[in-house]
């Protein structure tokens, strides 16, 4: 057992309001630079939708991630033979237009144009060439299902759904969507690291953050191809690849990453997971059906004395083990079994987990006769002439799951490599907690029924309370349990303090100044 610690994330999708505050916080801190304008280390997508870059999930196009062949896994579009033979021209590199051409407006024209008969306008100009351009695409062009015929309909996750199911999803009356915020997953089996010919990308042993050393990156761009989530970006101005750094300077000093700190919906949780690094290869190459379970298995119980002893022997700090025991992500992922990784079939073992959204599932829209509808509605409710019923009733406890407006297959394609039972299990838990809370607060559901819901979903009232608390009422310190990076050691992540010990003042940056001649 090789116990390592990993800073992991949970995004609770029911709570995301799609405000993009996270994206803007990240952009302001890290990517507001020439060559990085088009990069959104954090982006929020509307699902169904094609996302950013367009159709990134379709690995027939982008050739990202690992594929299993026999017992072994191989990088799909990179790796030793391909990275070196394609080094002069990488056929699978996405182009700037797959993301969007960054633009701004000539605002100065508004105040500096000479007086004339017409109002001056601010024309859009490309931030690459500086020339006027027609804006064809932006980073979240398909926000809130806009442009559905071009975007939502081409969502790669729809391909496994039958045409009838797809049709049903896009009927106006049944239309539903949710937001999917994405950052780098800081994977355990990162394809970006494996694909880098220069060995510029590495995973930090202490906390598992995946970083690109800008001094070693040589612009081969294989990581851009290899990351199935398209979360490494090529800076066309510096000729280096860049990616989410999980705000490591903030984490080292005990602050939450900017996207998480600023999250308006408070959907984000961050905490330590202990895992067994010996299992990485075998888990990543396990069968598709068992990928999720295996990944959950390699996450270790931080209360198990054996795990604690192995962690200590491996140099994991006590404070980190402590943080692992309080970790909100451990609760969501393991204790409660509520969260799932995004696209586990890419086999990078992502360490960002999602609590699948319940809202598009909670209610069903049914085609019932108008009379039946009237019976259900309160007499003072507005009466609609059509035959659709938006049903949020809880008569049949989990009845709406299977008739959900959002087919479970779709969720399963996103979060469990197509296995609906895993998604259903989580959704049932979420629903049971709601039923329980409704029993508690509204009181129109009997205790019996609430208990039945809980036990069917495998929960107890205590667990439901805990889930409810961490979902709805958590304080800042509950959401972000960041192990102390040990200030005395944190500084040594940047430089070795021993070098300046015994020097004048704070010492010299330059070695040549050791002796004043």
């Amino acid at each position: 057992m090789d116990v390592r610690s990993q800073i992991s994330m949970v995004f609770h999708l029911d709570k995301c309001i799609g405000c993009h505050t996270c994206s803007v916080a990240c952009k302001n801190i890290w990517t507001d630079r020439k060559g990085a304008e088009y990069m959104w280390w954090n982006n929020v997508e509307t699902k169904p939708g094609t996302g950013y870059p367009g159709k990134w999930e379709d690995q027939e196009i982008y050739k990202g991630g690992w594929k299993k062949d026999g017992d072994k896994i191989y990088l799909k579009g990179a790796g030793r033979p391909k990275s070196l033979t394609n080094i002069f021209h990488n056929p699978h590199l996405p182009k700037i237009d797959d993301y969007y051409e960054p633009f701004t407006y000539k605002y100065l024209d508004l105040i500096e144009s000479p007086a004339g008969d017409d109002q001056p306008t601010a024309r859009p100009i490309s931030m690459i060439t500086g020339e006027p351009m027609d804006i064809k695409m932006g980073p979240n062009w398909d926000d809130d299902l806009s442009g559905s015929p071009d975007y939502a309909r081409n969502d790669p996750n729809l391909t496994k759904l039958s045409p009838a199911e797809q049709e049903a999803m896009f009927q106006l009356e049944r239309m539903a969507f949710f937001y999917l915020p994405r950052i780098c997953n800081h994977c355990l089996n990162p394809a970006c690291v494996a694909a880098c010919p220069s060995q510029a990308i590495y995973k930090r042993g202490e906390d598992g953050v995946v970083l690109i050393n800008q001094n070693v990156c040589r612009a081969w761009r294989m990581c851009v191809t290899a990351c199935p989530y398209k979360k490494t970006y090529y800076n066309w101005n510096t000729g280096k690849s860049e990616k989410c750094i999980l705000c490591y300077p903030r984490i080292e000093s005990g602050h939450a990453p900017a996207c998480m700190h600023s999250c308006v919906g408070r959907i984000r949780y961050l905490g330590v997971l202990l895992y067994d690094a010996d299992q990485i290869e075998s888990v990543a190459s396990s069968d598709e059906e068992s990928l999720v379970d295996q990944q959950m298995n390699m996450i270790l119980d931080p209360f198990d004395p054996e795990v604690i002893a192995a962690a200590k022997a491996n140099g994991v700090a006590d404070s980190t083990i402590d943080a692992a025991q309080y970790s909100p992500t451990y609760k969501f992922v393991k204790t409660w079994g509520l969260a799932l990784p995004l696209h586990p079939e890419f086999r990078t073992l992502p360490m960002l987990f999602y609590v699948p959204p319940l809202l598009p599932v909670m209610a069903s829209v049914r085609d019932v006769s108008n009379e039946a509808q009237q019976e259900k509605l309160n007499p003072i409710a507005k009466q609609w002439p059509d035959n659709w019923l938006y049903d949020t009733s809880t008569e049949e406890i989990f009845g709406t799951i299977d008739q959900a407006r959002f087919p479970l297959e779709y969720m399963a394609n996103l979060f469990s490599a197509g296995d609906t039972s895993k998604v259903k299990e989580r959704i049932m838990k979420l629903m049971a907690v709601r039923i329980y809370r409704r029993h508690k607060t509204v009181g129109d559901i009997s205790e019996e029924k609430s208990n039945e819901a809980l036990s069917t979903a495998g929960l107890t009232p205590e667990l439901a309370d805990a889930i409810y608390y961490l979902t709805s009422l958590p304080k800042f310190d509950d959401r972000f349990v960041i192990p102390a990076a040990h200030r005395e050691q944190a500084i040594e992540m940047m430089e070795f303090t021993g070098d300046v010990k015994g020097n004048t003042g704070f010492g010299f940056k330059d070695k040549s100044a050791e002796r004043g001649s």
Partner: protein, 242 residues
């Protein structure tokens, strides 16, 4: 004329060699960030294919061809002693030269005409491309006009180059060569001289070590066990990451 010759074929090769070694080492150690060739495939990819691939393949073949005649002159001459083999060698070398020429021209054309690529083009990029172009044109001219290059290179130039390396230049053979060939030789030294100042420097960091390393890379800032061992002298657990 002789002073110029002496400068070009005795002094300059040493200057170029020293500038190359010192310059590349200095650039690598001080600003490793800049040691690469700024890729523009992200901005324009299709035309690049028809430039970069024939250019690099042609260049590698031609370069290793020259290198072979330099390292194994006897073998080259022996191979060339059968006319068919000589023709095969010369024709294939020339085809690679043409591929190099074609690639270079399409790269230059793309660089000058594509507005996005223009943005990431420096004056030095153009200068070095023109220099390479001149060198390739001269090279093709030499191959066509002064047959058979592979043989006289091995017989005349290899001794000269080795004598340079042995620090006792023997220049008679070079001085006697036609102007075109001498220009081609001087061009080679000029290119060597320019490497540290241009994007050409990326060839010294060709990522061959990728073949030998494990796929996953994990770096600990400290030796995580030693750092917590009170018996270990603390300066030993030095962070490895900088």
């Amino acid at each position: 004329m002789n002073t110029l010759n002496t400068f070009l074929f005795v002094v300059f090769p040493y200057v170029a060699g020293i500038v190359f070694v010192v310059g590349v080492t200095y650039r690598y150690r001080r600003t490793a960030f800049t040691v690469s060739s700024l890729s523009s495939q992200f901005l324009e990819g299709d035309k690049l294919f028809w430039g970069s691939v024939p250019f690099h393949i042609g260049l590698l073949a031609v370069f290793f061809g020259h290198l072979l005649a330099f390292l194994l002159p006897q073998a080259t001459l022996a191979w060339n002693s059968v006319p068919v083999r000589l023709i095969i060698l010369e024709v294939s070398a020339f085809v690679f030269g043409l591929s190099l020429l074609f690639g270079l021209l399409s790269l230059l054309w793309r660089r000058l005409t594509n507005p996005r690529v223009r943005v990431v083009t420096s004056r030095m990029d153009i200068a070095i491309e023109l220099l390479l172009l001149a060198q390739v044109v001269l090279g093709c001219w030499v191959a066509l006009g002064f047959r058979w290059g592979s043989s006289w290179f091995a017989a005349d130039l290899t001794p000269y180059l080795w004598s340079l390396l042995a620090l006792s230049p023997e220049t008679d053979a070079v001085f006697a060569l036609p102007l075109v060939i001498r220009l081609h030789i001087a061009g080679a030294f000029l290119i060597l001289f320019m490497v540290p100042f241009t994007r050409l420097a990326h060839f010294v960091v060709a990522p061959l070590h990728y073949l030998f390393r494990p796929y996953q890379v994990v770096i600990w800032n400290w030796d995580r066990k030693a750092v917590r061992n009170p018996k270990e002298p603390w300066s030993k657990a030095r962070p490895k990451n900088n």
